[in-house]
């Protein structure tokens, strides 16, 4: 079974700052995918970024980027130039390739962007 650990229950930064959210995971799988989802107060989970484990290059989506360290089983999310709209719960998630049970989620980090 896989486990995903997010060690920061809550973080708070000022608008325009850069923030990094941590995530580690444990798996015996060699082929898998990692995701960051954002959940604002509306409850809808929104995909932020994804990373294929077989790709060495870190994924980037506009202000969002990841630092994927496969050997260390670490998958952190960096948010640059943070905005008030980034305030949300952020979940790190794991999915094994061809897995039938979807995503395994961490407990989440509540990110607050202060004006």
């Amino acid at each position: 079974a896989q486990t995903v650990t997010q060690s920061q229950p809550e973080m708070s930064v000022q608008e325009a700052e850069t923030v990094t959210l941590s995530c580690t995971y444990d798996t015996s799988e060699s082929n898998y995918y990692l995701f960051w989802y954002k959940q604002p107060p509306s409850r809808q989970m929104i995909l932020v970024i994804r990373q294929e484990a077989y790709k060495q290059q870190n994924a980037t989506e506009n202000r969002f980027s990841v630092n994927f360290q496969k050997a260390a089983k670490s998958f952190s999310l960096k948010i640059s130039d943070s905005q008030l709209g980034d305030t949300a719960m952020y979940f790190c998630a794991f999915m094994k390739h061809q897995g039938a049970d979807g995503l395994t989620f961490g407990k989440g980090t509540h990110l607050i962007i202060q004006p």
Partner: protein, 116 residues
């Protein structure tokens, strides 16, 4: 539809009553997932459908929980004889499955269930 639609958005019920939660996935999405999100347990996988069949129902918390999917589209999660510990947000997600790379799930806004 354009997104995953769930109903009701909020449901308050009395202990012991049955409830049905509905999920309407994105058109053409063959895979459908149910998750439960509660304060103490985080996000918990419940069940997965590929088409109309659910290969593994072991994620359902008890035999009071059942789910079905008809016509490869709409899914219903039924909770019988609700208990207070069933209070949670029930999230549904759908996807195209394992085609052309990662299986990317799109989520609905969830159904918040409160059992009094």
């Amino acid at each position: 539809g354009a997104g995953v639609s769930q109903s009701p958005s909020n449901k308050v019920t009395e202990k012991g009553k049955d409830v049905e939660l509905r999920c309407d996935p994105i058109s053409g999405h063959t895979a459908l997932y149910w998750y439960r999100q509660s304060l103490g347990q985080g996000l918990e996988f419940l069940i997965y459908f590929q088409g109309n069949s659910a290969p593994d129902k072991s994620g359902l918390p008890s035999d009071r929980f059942s789910a079905e999917r008809t016509g490869g589209s709409v899914s219903t999660l039924t909770i019988q004889r609700t208990q207070q510990e069933d209070s949670a947000v029930y999230l549904c997600a759908s996807s195209l499955g394992w085609v052309s790379g990662a299986n990317v799930l799109t989520f609905g806004a969830g159904s918040r269930l409160t059992v009094l």
